[in-house]
Symmetry: C2
Subunit: 113 residues, 2 copies
DNA sequence: CACTATGCTACGTTATTTGTAGCGAGACAA
DNA sequence: TTGTCTCGCTACAAATAACGTAGCATAGTG
């Protein structure tokens, strides 16, 4: 087993062992609030606190963690004047998810029956 | 605070407080292995153990939990002869995510630069 | 019967999330 | 300068979720 002294940064235990981009991506997006953050930024940048409110008051700890990951992945950037916003590739990613909105409605209708 | 005796099924603490379908969906999909499970079932049903192998050996505890949730949501079903498979609406959901594969490749190329 | 595979659960350990509080930096006014 | 905003971000203990290993009951097959 691996020792972890206090000075040692916690190595991410998660993630695809294969390293295939799709798996890395699915792992990143499959963390609490990741999808939601991208979703909430779809209409424009938000400050960290506005984002927090938009995410049902999720704790700042996770939000910062997710924002760091999403920034490192290149999907989100911090602009001093306006807060957190999607990058070009981040917007591309979001567009991949946009049909989800329509799907969610269809899904709900089916569930009612 | 709500008491939770052993006979009481754990009420989900998570999820969108708004109850909007898109939020419920984003929360469900934003749990560990949810996206991955749907992804691994894209080419056909898998038995629980095959699915486990396909998911880098994720623990059966979470897999069962996610499978229960995904079944309850109507995305996955258990077929006695072939294991876990996507339902019709589950396949629709997956198709929403399929462009993600191509995106992941584009993403990787950009990251290399 | 023994053997194998299925779906699923128990349980102790580890990792992640939560909730609350607060820091330091910068902007702006008195 | 002092006060008071807001900003991004962090600390820390408690709660929750996930991990890893082992194993159960059932069903099929030989």
């Amino acid at each position: 087993m691996m020792e972890r002294g206090p000075a040692m940064k916690k190595r991410s235990v998660r993630g695809s062992k294969s390293g295939r981009p799709i798996m890395v991506l699915l792992d990143l997006l499959g963390r609490r609030w990741s999808l939601r953050i991208l979703w909430q930024l779809r209409e424009g940048p938000l400050t960290s606190r506005a984002l927090r409110d938009a995410c049902d008051g999720a704790s700042p700890t996770v939000l910062q963690a997710r924002l760091s990951e999403l920034r490192q992945a290149g999907f989100v950037e911090l602009i001093r004047s306006s807060g957190y916003g999607l990058t070009a590739i981040g917007r591309e990613l979001l567009e991949t998810f946009l049909p989800l909105h329509r799907f969610a409605e269809r899904w709900r209708k089916q569930r009612k029956d």
